[in-house]
Amino acid sequence: MSGLAAGIRLAHFDKRVCILERHSTIGGLNSFYRLRGRNYDVGLHAVTNATPKGMKKSPLARLLRQLRMQWDDFALRPQLGSEIAFPGIQLYFDNNIETLRSEVRRAFPKQMDRFDRLVREIAHYDDLDGAHAHVSARRIVHSILTDPLLVQMLFCPLMYYGSAREDDMDWRQFSILFRSIFLEGLARPQAGIRLILKHLVRRFRALGGKLMLRSNVQRFVIDQGRITGVKVEGGKTMEARNVLSSAGLPETMRLCGGTECANPKATGQLSFCEAIAILDVPPKETCFRHTITFFNDSDHFQWRKPKTPCDLTSGVVCSPNNFDYEEPLVDGTMRITSLASYNYWNALDDSTYRLEKLRWYDRILASAIRFVPDFRGHIIDTDMFTPTTITRFTGHENGAVYGIPEKRFDGTTHLKNLFLCGTDQGLVGIIGGLISGITMANRWCLK
């Protein structure tokens, strides 16, 4: 995502750009595939920051302007409504913050003024100025809200959609995620992520950009603190004046031949399993009407790499069907995500791996149906990915979807002409990735 956005900016301003992608298809962490005659998205639950057409100041509008693309190119359809479900208590929200406000008023009446204050602080937070950027979000939120349960409930979706750090995140990240999910909202193109990717690639190529698939970068050729070339596996070395890498910081350091990030604490640890169920009916007919349900089965929400293969205490249930489309989707689909341990899944041999996938698929579903209607009788096809799937297809170590905990906001590295973009630069998600690519290209390659 970030690579394509950077590529479009550079090609637009007449730079010669080549995007090297190791996989046989585009998209990285947000790609798509076909299995037994059906289309699947790899990651996409929802596109965040989904402000409506005509809102000129939002991140979505800004990135579209920068890419010279139209709002309609993304064809976003808003969510129907989602919920955060803890034992005996739910908070419902949609793309209008008033809905969440009235839910907080209903469930936490004494916190109402404090919640409004939190929203104001976040709305006014300037992430470019970066005040309190590295302060613990938990500390700040706890200084405003006094009911710990409300704090846990608000953190749950934000952690799931973008925290690389265990049990906390920094205030900047919290503010960005809060805005992108609660203040701006969730949406999805009817055709899924492939539609957005198709438009990005088309635009990149129309500008003269070169996209090379199945081109695994093996290492960088370095001379006196600069990259002079990029060695592609089984191919030649390409000359490069500047290199932007979305592979992740530790992964990129490895391509430099270095070990700058050998410290395991500095690498990302948080990864997921996702169980996908295709149903013979639209999910709403099983009474699942929400777009997304974020659940947690106690008052305490834990965001850590689990000691078990999957953490069944919390999860995300999402149905791509439950967006406000003009026409219904062909298949009914439910996706359930839970935290998972890379080490566990990575250590299994092939046949145990397959067996464990089946076992944990059932457990993940059994865990989810404590919070959503039981849809299991309608399943006609299934798929499941684990942390090792993520590593295999995107190269991200430990299957760490949100990368390293300490981000490199300025994108610089120890080499003068090598810059990071994407996840490890500091912006995650589809919209975050696109913005990251744009800002890094602007800052380091276009000035």
């Binding site: 637009h12 301003f13 000129k56 800004r62 302007r65 920068q66 010279r68 800002t439 602007n442 276009l446």
Partner: protein
């Protein structure tokens, strides 16, 4: 290029950067930022589009000169006088 042509070219650039803005009654002596919803990234794009389209280099200390249409045209005139309209 004449000043009218330069103005026209700046309008073209703005239309490209911000396709949703109505530029038909843009006031020349009011700052762009007071009548258009452009942010700093968009302003940088004006500079970059001028470079791309007309090979004009604008040093960072001169960015202030591009605050409004009037000041932009005044600033660009001596730099674009020899250029042909494309």
């Amino acid at each position: 290029m004449t000043t009218t042509e330069i103005r026209h070219e700046v309008i073209n650039i703005l239309a490209d950067i911000a396709p949703d803005e109505d530029l038909s009654d843009l006031k020349d002596d009011i700052a762009f930022r007071d009548q258009l919803e452009l942010d700093s990234m968009d302003f940088l794009d004006i500079v970059m589009e001028l470079r791309k389209r007309h090979r004009i280099q604008i040093p960072e200390e001169d960015y202030d000169q591009l605050a409004s249409m009037a000041s932009t045209v005044t600033y660009l005139e001596p730099r674009m006088v020899g250029l042909q309209k494309q």
